[in-house]
């Protein structure tokens, strides 16, 4: 696995800023598994967290140190949970001293602000249609950066994780035998999007039996998102992610209605 990582790094480097933090990832995992936030199965969540973190490292995403700190916290909680109740340090009240409590509190608080942010988003959407006199409109300026409409980086990683899960662990010889590159896959995706317009990520991985090929394909998707050539869209929560070509192509002119509807995201 290590060799594989090196291979990819040398080949192509996608640095996508991850603004989402470890709390986002935890909430994502909790929501995905539909577990109770007040009774987190810490072992399972920790394993999943580590799995995502590993993938993010493989992908060379620009992840903050906070992710590492959180993994340590999770491990600590997990180990404390394994201790019999009477052996836990600083024990006074069973309810209060659940090792998970601080984390739960933090998550619940963060969730509240996420909801508040959703409310702001609704307001923003509404205000988009509201103009003052002489089109006085609050302008934020700056062109869109990266278009990750609806789909978060964790959704993307989740799809990669699934694809990798379907493939057998391969021995190293096989990895070196096959020569997949990210640039090759970039071309592959761009060509395919000319025909299909929309491609589901799952379909993109279909028929790929090599972990390296899957990872290269995934990195190509990230690269194209970063270059603003494609957008990742997710229609249902935790549904399949679809990539589609973004506007600027010259041959897209016949669809002005698209322009009305395509929105950029800031930051």
């Amino acid at each position: 696995m290590n060799n594989q990582m090196e291979l990819i790094k040398d080949d192509y480097k996608v640095i996508l800023e991850v603004f989402e933090g470890p709390l986002d990832l935890l909430l994502y995992l909790i929501k995905k598994d539909e577990v109770d936030i007040y009774d987190i199965p810490i072992g399972r969540v920790t394993d999943q967290y580590m799995e995502y973190l590993k993938l993010m490292k493989v992908l060379d995403l620009n992840i903050a140190g906070d992710f590492i700190v959180m993994s340590a916290t999770l491990m600590l909680i997990k180990s404390r949970m394994l201790l019999p109740v009477e052996e836990r340090p600083d024990m006074t009240d069973e309810e209060e001293e659940d090792p998970r409590w601080d984390l739960v509190r933090q998550l619940v608080e963060y969730k509240k602000f996420k909801d508040a942010a959703d409310h702001l988003e609704d307001l923003e959407l509404h205000m988009e249609n509201v103009f003052g006199r002489e089109s006085e409109h609050v302008e934020l300026g700056a062109p869109p950066d990266v278009d990750l409409r609806d789909a978060s980086i964790f959704d993307l990683i989740s799809s990669l994780n699934e694809a990798l899960g379907r493939v057998q662990e391969e021995d190293l010889q096989e990895i070196f035998a096959e020569e997949y590159t990210v640039s090759q896959k970039v071309t592959y995706i761009v060509e395919n999007l000319k025909i299909a317009k929309r491609l589901s990520i799952t379909d993109l991985f279909t028929g790929m039996n090599s972990r390296q090929e899957i990872i290269c394909t995934f990195l190509a998707v990230l690269e194209l998102i970063k270059l603003n050539r494609i957008a990742a869209v997710q229609d249902d929560q935790f549904g399949d992610i679809v990539v589609e070509a973004r506007e600027p192509e010259k041959n897209e002119i016949e669809a002005p209605e698209e322009a009305l509807v395509v929105k950029g995201e800031l930051l």
């Binding site: 603004f19 986002d24 249609n129 509201v130 006199r133 006085e136 934020l140 869109p144 995201e265």
Partner: protein, 250 residues
């Protein structure tokens, strides 16, 4: 300004409608009252009645205007944003206006930006470290961009070691989201929390309280009722400079 050529004197509602229409930014009731006082004094005669219009009467006229606009379905409405009033088009007509103005590509804030904003909005004035505590990730870049966009501003330095900056939201923030006051945001009681360190001080300086304070001050000023335009000016200035404690300009 001497005599007028106008035969029929307009109602307050009409004046308020015309003022909102002509203004380039949201108008406070005081700004409108000032225009009425100046006109009343300038034209004298029957116009003097306008100089005596009270804030309550103007507010009543605004309500009437709003009701009439809603009823008549003219595509317009009155909104209260950042404690001031403005005319705006009905959201339902927005797509057409956007087509006219060619504003199809609208910028939207990303989730991390919205979350950061939400924390600043509820917790202001707050430190960068407080935002990071809630979000669990560094917010340096996001915060800088929000400041560049003038959605967040530096309020002042805290008294903590190193005197880090305290951040708050701006007038533009309220305008961008069409919010009247921070207190109107849902769950603001719950999400706002006193800080242990700066707690005492902060609790007198969060927005709703400050507004109350300002309101109280204003109340006093009105009680003394110095109707001179200069006095109004001072009030308008202190209003428009935002949540400033000192009414003087720099």
């Amino acid at each position: 300004m001497s005599e007028s050529t106008i035969d029929v004197l307009p109602e307050l509602k009409q004046i308020v409608g015309a003022l909102l229409f002509a203004a380039k930014e949201p108008l406070s009731i005081k700004r409108m009252r000032k225009a009425m006082i100046e006109t009343g004094n300038g034209f004298a005669g029957p116009y003097e009645q306008y100089a005596k219009a009270t804030d309550q009467q103007i507010e009543g006229a605004l309500e009437e205007l709003q009701e009439d606009l809603d009823k008549a379905k003219l595509g317009l409405g009155v909104a209260k944003v950042a404690e001031a009033y403005r005319l705006q088009n009905d959201a339902a007509c927005g797509p057409f206006v956007r087509a006219l103005l060619e504003k199809n590509q609208t910028m939207r804030l990303s989730k991390p930006a919205l979350e950061t904003l939400a924390i600043v909005a509820y917790r202001q004035p707050c430190l960068r470290s407080e935002i990071e505590e809630v979000r669990g990730v560094s917010v340096d870049g996001v915060l800088r961009k929000l400041i560049d966009m003038q959605l967040v501003r530096v309020v002042r330095r805290s008294e903590l070691p190193g005197h880090p900056w305290l951040f708050g939201t701006t007038q533009k923030f309220l305008e961008h989201f069409g919010i009247n006051t921070i207190a109107d945001l849902p769950g603001s009681q719950e999400l706002r929390r006193a800080l242990p360190t700066e707690g005492k001080k902060q609790s007198t300086e969060t927005f709703p309280e400050m507004e109350e304070e300002l309101g109280a001050e204003k109340g006093e000023a009105e009680a003394t009722e110095d109707e001179s335009v200069a006095a109004l000016d001072e009030e308008i200035q202190s209003d428009s400079s935002g949540m400033e404690d000192e009414p003087q300009i720099v």
